[in-house]
Each structure stands twice: as structure tokens, then as C-alpha cells.
């Protein structure tokens, strides 16, 4: 007989698990209900999923200082809270895009929504932990669900995208495992705060070990965050997946990855070891610049947006490189604004989606598709134009504030060159965003059939676009309170 092990239930702090538990139960319930009742309605499934996300949201915002739970595996602090809020809001906003005018097979399946919820659980586990193993499992759960969701779109390109993403993800998982292994061997722990403690006691010796672990980790997280040179999957995967998922992918997996990167890399940058900083510096500058230059020559709007999101991710890594409270706040503010702008842009692509590639054999959304759109559908063209202006970082639209704050953070901590690179890249980016605006407003239309552009429009899509547009346009009104709240949370958890 084995002796029983006694555990103090109160010490487990089970509330810390509540947000993940809600969505897990929701997903399991959805599958069971689907088993009993066949042919559940698309809007019912969407609404029930959003309901669970809202419940989860309620469980998340009951934050009272840093809490550890479940044998200290879970860590709920300020940045995990903000990240969870971003993840949940983005999920709740992207999900209604399932209720498009056209019916897609994947949105009729209860499994789609169950997998969607499981994916959110994975992301939440990633951000609410500083344990490398839990982070890894969260990462894999969410990625696996995401691969499946992409492939469910049931187009040849969607399968291609899913397989590509899966293969790259498997490679990244290998890198992650290698990195965590070296960290463990160096310090005897897989918890980031303990790794930090041990490494600092030992003055980051043996340096070669820390360097190897860092390189592997940059490569692993680089896949998720689509940093150069591991960004090659991004445009193909965005192109292959449906527009809502592509937009979702440009926001949510990345914020989860940024939180992990923030926890891990900031302690490395703070080490004062120049090497480690150089590695990150190179990744940041390369990501921003190369992605921007490649975006210039794209012929497809979706691919252009993919490259632009890589470039935006590059500026976010710059915030992590700078590592001050201001920079971290800038990261979250930037990403919140980017969330709404990208939500709008990708929803617009979803609205104008047409079954056949009418404009170009190869691409679904070539620039020519949008030429003269202002004469056919002035409203659509204007809104799309606003999103493009916002993405280009033009004042007073949303992303501008994020960029401004980021650059000022860079200057405040004496990263002058970094600030210059970010500014120059924003200038380059203006060109390709404006290219679309020029096509929409200054070119002659190829067709005058307005119906071709609204085949997929439905009320819920229009509501989402309207919401995104309002947030984008009037962002100036809530930049200030947002900054205050986020600064409070970021500073309170010591980042």
C-alpha cells in the first residue's frame, strides 16, 4: 500500500484556475450538447461561445495583486491580466464574423466552437504562468487547435496553410524544448523567476549556455511571433486561412507570445550581457525592415497585411528589448489599438470575399480588386481607407498613439537608433498602405457591379466593422485613461 499524500486545498488557490475552467467546461458542454442535438444553429453556437467568453472575462477581471496558485504553477499578475483581457476581447470580437452572409461549413460545426474555446484556454495558460512547461503545453494546445481551425475552412489552400503552419510549429516546439532543457540544466528549475534568481547569483555564467538557450528561445518564440528569419510561413498561412482566422492569428497568438517573451527576455536583457541584447536587437531590426520591404512588392492585400503584421510584431519586440515600464505599457497599448484596426481591416476583407478569384488567377484580394471602389461603394472604401491610415500610423488614428508612445519610450531609455529605425520603417510602411488607398480612390473601377463586393456582408459583420471603425477614429478620446490603467497594472507586477 502507498501512503496517501495530503494537500492543503486552500493553499492551492483554486480560483486562479477558474477562468480556464470556465472555457474548458464550456467547450466540453458544447460537444456533449452537439452529441445529443443534431444541427445546432450557427448563431446559437456563436452566442453560447461568446457567453462563455464573457463569463471567463468576468472571472479574469477580479484581480487583486499578484497571486500564485496550484503549486505555484500559475502566476496571475498585471501583465497576465491585461493579456487575458486582450485575448478574450479579441476572441469575442472575431467570433461573430462566423455569421457572414454566405454559409461556411466550418461554422456549422459545434467542434469549431469547442476547439476555439480550447484554443483560448491554451493561450490563457501561456500568459498566466511563468513555468516553462505549462507555457509549452499551453502553446501546443492552442497551436494544435488553431491548425485544425485553419484546415476546417475546407479549401485546398487552407489545408496547405494548416500543414505549413503545423510543420513550422513542430520545428518551433523542438526549439522550445531544447531551450527549456538548457535553462533547466543551467539552473535546476523551469520557473522563470527561479531561473532569473539563479542566473543572477551566478552572474550569468556559463555564458555560452545562456546564449544557446536564448538563441533557441528566440527561434521558438520567433515562429509564433513571426520574427525574421522564421516568418516565412506567415503570408502563406494568412492567405490560406479564412479572413477572420487570419486576423485572429495576427493578434491573439502574438500577444500570448509577447507576454512569454516579456517574462523571459527582459531578465536576459537586464543581465547587462551585451551578447544577449545583440541577438534581440538584430531580430528586431531585421523583422521590421525586411518585412516592410517585402510588403512593398506584394500584389495581394491579404499578403500585404500579413507582412505588415510581421513588421508590427517587430516593433513590439523592440518594446521588449527596451524593457522599461513605459515600453511594456506601449506594447500593450499598441497591441490593443492594432487589434481593433486589424479587426476592421480583416473584416473588410471578409465582407468583400467572393467565391471565385475574379480579379486575379493567383490571388483572392489583389490590389486591382479594390480599384475605384469609392465610386462603387463609397462607404466601404472610406472605412477601409481609415483602417489603412490607422495601420500606417497617421494621426489621429489609433495605431499612431501606440507608435508615438513606443518611440518616446525608446528615446527615454537612450535607444536613439532603435527609435530612428522604428520611425523610418513607419515611413516606408506608409507607401504600401497608401497604395491600397490610391487604388480605391484614384483608379478607375474595373467593374461597376456593387454586388460583387458585398457577397458576404451581413448585419453582424457590419456591426463589427462599425465598432472597429469607431474605436479607430475616436481612439484619441481614450488613449489617456487606457495608458493609466495599463501603466498601473504593468508597474504593479514589476515589468
Amino acid at each position: 500500500m502507498l501512503e496517501p499524500i495530503s494537500i492543503d486545498i486552500a493553499g492551492l488557490n483554486l480560483q486562479a484556475l477558474l477562468p480556464m475552467a470556465i472555457l474548458t467546461i464550456g467547450a466540453l458542454a458544447l460537444i456533449c450538447v452537439d452529441l445529443a442535438v443534431k444541427g445546432l444553429n450557427r448563431s446559437f453556437l456563436t452566442m453560447i461561445t461568446i457567453l462563455f467568453i464573457v463569463l471567463d472575462f468576468g472571472a479574469v477581471i477580479g484581480y487583486k495583486g499578484d497571486v500564485r496558485g496550484f503549486f505555484d504553477v500559475l502566476l496571475i499578475d498585471g501583465i497576465s491580466l491585461i493579456a487575458q483581457v486582450i485575448i478574450l476581447v479579441a476572441s469575442a470580437l472575431f467570433l461573430p464574423l462566423s455569421m457572414s452572409h454566405r454559409h461556411f461549413r466550418e461554422f456549422k460545426m459545434a467542434e469549431f466552437y469547442a476547439l476555439f474555446m480550447f484554443m483560448i484556454v491554451g493561450f490563457q495558460c501561456m500568459v498566466t504562468s511563468d513555468n516553462l512547461i505549462l507555457i509549452f503545453i499551453g502553446l501546443e494546445t492552442s497551436s494544435l487547435a488553431l491548425y485544425t481551425l485553419i484546415a476546417l475552412h475546407n479549401r485546398a489552400k487552407a489545408f496547405e496553410a494548416a500543414i505549413k503552419y503545423f510543420t513550422m510549429g513542430a520545428l518551433a516546439a523542438g526549439f522550445y524544448g531544447m531551450s527549456a532543457l538548457i535553462f533547466y540544466a543551467l539552473t535546476g528549475s523551469v520557473e522563470i523567476h527561479q531561473i532569473e534568481q539563479v542566473l543572477q547569483e551566478r552572474h550569468f555564467e556559463p555564458l555560452v549556455g545562456v546564449l544557446a538557450a536564448t538563441i533557441f528561445m528566440v527561434a521558438a518564440l520567433g515562429f509564433k511571433l513571426s520574427l525574421v528569419p522564421s516568418h516565412t510561413w506567415t503570408p502563406d498561412v494568412y492567405e490560406g486561412s479564412s479572413a477572420p482566422l487570419a486576423g485572429y492569428m495576427s493578434i491573439v497568438p502574438k500577444i500570448a507570445g509577447f507576454v512569454v517573451a516579456m517574462r523571459l527576455f527582459e531578465m536576459l536583457v537586464a543581465s547587462g550581457v551585451v551578447w544577449l541584447e545583440y541577438v534581440l536587437y538584430a531580430a528586431v531590426v531585421l523583422t521590421m525592415t525586411l518585412a516592410n520591404i517585402t510588403a512593398l512588392v506584394q500584389e495581394d492585400v491579404k499578403r500585404m497585411l500579413a507582412f505588415s503584421s510581421i513588421s508590427h510584431a517587430g516593433s513590439m519586440m523592440a518594446a521588449i528589448l527596451i524593457g522599461t515600464t513605459q515600453a511594456n505599457t506601449a506594447l500593450f497599448v499598441y497591441w490593443i489599438f492594432f487589434l481593433f484596426t486589424n479587426l476592421g481591416a480583416f473584416t473588410m476583407l471578409w465582407i468583400v470575399r467572393h467565391r471565385e478569384n475574379l480579379w486575379d488567377e493567383r490571388y483572392q484580394h489583389p490590389y486591382t480588386k479594390f480599384s475605384g471602389l469609392v465610386k462603387i461603394m463609397p462607404m466601404t472604401a472610406t472605412i477601409m481607407g481609415i483602417f489603412m491610415f490607422a495601420l500606417a500610423g497617421m494621426p489621429p488614428f489609433s495605431v499612431f498613439w501606440g507608435k508615438l508612445y513606443l518611440i518616446s519610450a525608446a528615446i527615454n531609455s537612450d535607444y536613439i537608433w532603435l527609435a530612428v529605425v522604428i520611425a523610418l520603417n513607419s515611413a516606408v510602411a506608409v507607401y504600401y498602405y497608401m497604395k491600397l488607398v490610391v487604388y480605391m480612390f484614384l483608379h478607375e473601377p474595373v467593374t461597376i457591379d456593387a454586388r460583387l463586393y458585398a457577397t458576404n456582408a451581413s448585419t453582424s459583420l457590419k456591426v463589427i466593422v462599425g465598432f472597429a471603425a469607431i474605436v479607430t477614429i475616436f481612439s484619441i478620446a481614450f488613449v489617456e485613461p487606457l495608458l493609466q490603467v495599463i501603466t498601473h497594472y504593468v508597474a504593479s507586477s514589476g515589468f
Binding site: 502507498l2 467542434e111 476547439l115 480550447f118 494546445t141
Partner: protein, 165 residues
């Protein structure tokens, strides 16, 4: 004796891994992967990690690779369906050379590890302390893995029944 066993097992682990990449037929690749996995199980046994040793044999060699081969068998891959791989050896060779500095880095990192010199616990690798650890401190990651497998399962089922919808 220990050194001899280590070299023996490592040789087979590397040989299997090498064959897995070089061989052209998927079935042959899978078979040489079995060699690697069994050799790895032996290496675990050499490290006194008896539970890992048994699990490696049951799960990897016994179940997963069987399914791999089983599925390859049912796919019935013909010679003409296999991708042509011209210059494969050359690429492998060049890739190997490119990876040498990285491998050296990792190797040096491993040699520099302070943990290597610490004594092991008395009951290291036995099933009881492992299980106790897994079901207290690591319970949440452990349960999350079941969620991960559930996700994979749902995904597989969704794809498998595709044509009925």
C-alpha cells in the same frame, strides 16, 4: 562496461536517426526510427530512469511507431508517388556542416552545466517519487496535456468524418 553500453546504444541511436533521414521509403524510415527509440530507451535505463525506460518502450516503440507503420501501410505509397530527391546527400551534407557551430555551442553549453556535478537523489528515476511529483506539483500541466490530446482527438474526428456532412 557502462561506457561500452553507452557507446553501443548511442551508436544505434545515431544510426537509426541517420537512416530515418537518409532512407527513401517511408516504411524504412519508420523502421530505423524504431531502432533509435529502442536505443534511447536503453540509454534511459543506463541513467537509472527505469520508468522512462519502460514507458519509452511501451508508448513509442510499442504503440506510436506501430501506428505510423500501420498508416503508411494503408496509404500504400507507390514508388512513383514518392517525391524525387535529387542531390539529397549533398543537401544533407551541407546542412550538417551548417549545423556544426550550433551543435558545438549546445555541446559546450551542456559541458558547462553546473547541475551535472550534483549528486542524484537516492530514489532517482523510480516510479514512486516520479508519480508523487507528477500528481502534486505538476498536476495542472499533466491535466492540460489531456486537454491537448482531446483537442487532437476532436480535430482528427472532425477531419475523418468530413464527407458525411
Amino acid at each position: 562496461m557502462n561506457d561500452f553500453l553507452f557507446i553501443f546504444l548511442s551508436f544505434f541511436a545515431l544510426l537509426g536517426a541517420f537512416g530515418m533521414i537518409v532512407l527513401h521509403q517511408p516504411v524504412h524510415s519508420a523502421l530505423s526510427l524504431i531502432v533509435t527509440l529502442l536505443a534511447l530507451a536503453g540509454l534511459f535505463a543506463l541513467l537509472n530512469a527505469s520508468f522512462l525506460f519502460a514507458v519509452q518502450i511501451i508508448v513509442y516503440a510499442g504503440a506510436i511507431l506501430t501506428l505510423f507503420i500501420f498508416i503508411i501501410m494503408f496509404l500504400n505509397v507507390k514508388e512513383s508517388n514518392l517525391p524525387k530527391e535529387p542531390n539529397k546527400t549533398l543537401y544533407l551534407f551541407l546542412g550538417g556542416i551548417v549545423l556544426i557551430p550550433l551543435n558545438l555551442l549546445v555541446l559546450r553549453a551542456f559541458y558547462a552545466m553546473p547541475l551535472l556535478r550534483e549528486p542524484l537523489a537516492e530514489d532517482f528515476g523510480e516510479i514512486k517519487p516520479l508519480g508523487a511529483e507528477l500528481f502534486t506539483k505538476w498536476l495542472l500541466p499533466f491535466e492540460l496535456i489531456s486537454l491537448l490530446l482531446l483537442v487532437a482527438l476532436i480535430g482528427a474526428v472532425v477531419f475523418a468524418r468530413k464527407d458525411e456532412v
